[in-house]
Symmetry: C2
Subunit: 386 residues, 2 copies
């Protein structure tokens, strides 16, 4: 990007969430190529962007269907023309009327469940419904959150409640979210294999018990990028890969230069004796996510870059109030004085801050500013709420 082409970043109000469209498209293309090579379908998780423009780019690259984390996402993306949607948070029966309304309007919305109570509620609900539901069973392959482990009796119990109750069991899915805690290719590849094998095993147990189970869906950004084989898997899900972030950098699945989301900010003051530069990106813009604090490299509230995206090595956003960020040089992890901060970063200077966690930072903004390689900026709106 040439200096002329980033001049548009001087013309908009700050803070603003900037998407580097070139980087984003490259991230999307790389993941899709990888999935194609592994012979599986790819169903991106749209909770990261909650943005129709981003998801259209994923579908144009070859994605088949989407994954959502809220019914609002399902409703919004269905309104934008997408029909093959997986709602990947275990359902509670009180949400079924909203699910059914989407199905009746032609949305091929799949729901998931990981317990007998909700499965029984689904069967009960379907008895008086005039449109069938499709349910996938959530499998726990790494102990980090929800799901039924592959060998548990509950797996077949839930499958039988649904199947015998006349509800279609469409598949099994798992999410090895503990991959975010790893940082070597070996460990990631091992977890990807654990995720694959566990989910395939769960599908096999269901099939052996006479319960159809067509789909085997796995994924997280790190395991998707580390998997060496995906035998038995039919589709992969991942979300944050479209933008990447500093947490993913520390996990080892992207470089700093792959990160496509940044927060545009303006210098509003200094505390010269402390070497502090005060910027208008506080936690309301960056989010309170401190995901790198437990990783090998702590990026504070974010990595400052110049306007053209070059990281300012040795500087971090070391603190954040609601609308104030504190940017300072860091020396061996401690803030250090810097006599020259006023001269180096005068009031009005614009910078870009790479976020710890793209899903959390994006959520702070009603819209993205999509920066094309030509310098053109387009507003891409995103959803908020449930």
């Amino acid at each position: 990007m040439t200096p002329e082409n980033i001049m548009t970043l001087d013309l908009i109000d700050t803070p603003a969430a900037i998407i580097d469209v070139g980087r984003m498209k490259q991230n999307i293309a790389s993941m899709q190529q990888r999935m194609n090579a592994l012979g599986v379908k790819f169903r991106p998780h749209v909770k990261t962007s909650k943005c129709v423009d981003v998801v259209r780019a994923q579908i144009e690259a070859g994605a088949q269907g989407i994954t959502v984390s809220t019914l609002k996402e399902a409703e919004s993306f269905f309104a934008a023309g997408m029909t093959d949607i997986l709602y990947a948070v275990s359902i509670v029966p009180s949400r079924l009327p909203r699910v059914m309304a989407l199905r009746k309007h032609g949305c091929d919305l799949k729901i998931i469940v990981d317990n007998a109570s909700a499965a029984a509620g689904i069967v009960e609900f379907c008895r008086t419904a005039d449109e069938p539901l499709e349910v996938w069973i959530e499998v726990d392959t790494d102990g980090h959150r929800s799901g039924i482990t592959p060998e548990e009796p509950a797996l077949l119990e839930v499958g039988r409640i649904l199947h015998d109750g006349g509800v279609k069991v469409g598949g099994v899915l798992t999410h090895a979210g503990s991959s975010y805690e790893l940082n070597t290719q070996e460990a990631l590849a091992a977890l990807a294999e654990q995720e694959r094998a566990g989910c395939v095993r769960a599908a096999q147990r269901l099939r052996d018990a006479g319960i159809p189970c067509e789909v085997v869906s796995v994924g997280s950004t790190p395991t998707a990028l580390a998997a060496r084989r995906l035998d038995g898997v039919t589709e992969v899900r991942a979300g944050v890969y479209a933008f990447f972030d500093l947490v993913m950098h520390n996990v080892g699945v992207c470089t700093i230069d792959d990160i496509a989301l940044s927060v545009l900010t303006t210098v509003i003051g200094h505390q010269q004796d402390k070497g502090w530069v005060i910027v208008d990106a506080g936690w309301m813009a960056m989010s309170r996510d401190r995901g790198t604090s437990k990783q090998s490299r702590d990026f504070g509230y974010g990595q400052p870059c110049s306007l053209d995206g070059t990281p300012l090595d040795g500087y971090l956003l070391i603190g954040a109030n609601q609308e104030h960020g504190i940017l300072a040089s860091v020396d061996a992890g401690r803030a250090s004085g810097d006599d020259d901060v006023k001269a180096r970063f005068p009031v009005g200077t614009r910078l870009r801050i790479l976020p710890n966690h793209a899903c959390a930072t994006g959520a702070q903004f009603p819209e993205y500013q999509a920066l094309e390689s030509t310098g053109a900026l387009n507003v891409w709106s995103r959803f908020h709420g449930w």
Copy 2:
């Protein structure tokens, strides 16, 4: 609140941000009474709620004017009929056209500055503007963020740039935000006095130099509630007191029963062997704010309560993914197994989670559900973005 009156909480989608209107009005009344007794005006900071209904209650209780942290708040509250507005983040000249547009439409918007560079920019801007601006100077009384310390030469330098340049210096303001790090009445009262004395001293230095300085504005929720005298102060600002939260509980300025904001959530599953209850309030609902992690009592991602608001002692939201929260019993700070979680919290159970930081949690929601003591629920919308 009787069981009948909280039945409305069974009828709305979760997660939802619930305001206990009775508690909120009590918090607002207590603060206003305190400010009246101390003989100062009160200008609430509306960044906490970003909600016209909440701010109307503050004004009805006696507040005079509002404080905002973004120009979007200024524009939104001006559109709702409020005119006396202080934009309390140091201005950069690139924002002045937006400020001027509000002034021209009749908004008595005051801006603040803490450096010579921006002050010179304001003077330059005003030379060709057809409407005057009013500027307050930000004073640093506790070293936690922005502002000029009371004895610094820069204070008079900035004052002279503005005054000699024909721009009205309307006052000085300070915010002792380091009060959030304290937890005894003695320390809070001492910081309140430091905040008062420093800001009054800055005003005096300006006046002694022939620069008018009518307003002396101080405040943070903890110092406002701890101040024993406010001689020389003309107004106080505070924000989070309207809702309070677990951080303020740990600071010692409210009880658990004063907290007026909670997140309504539904149990969606369990990991029985770990004693985990999975709920649909993850960090997207609670925010990533872990403000109590450095305090004397760490509340994890929040304090679970029953639907009527009774805290479930011994339970915390110990973890959070984007749309999943992990609720568990805690024993001496460590999660402990609980054989009975499925029986105690069946799938579909609704709970309320008190947040660490009301400003951060509120920001995750497009609207509040205002719960009256009658059980009536009203939707109060809130602003998002800049």
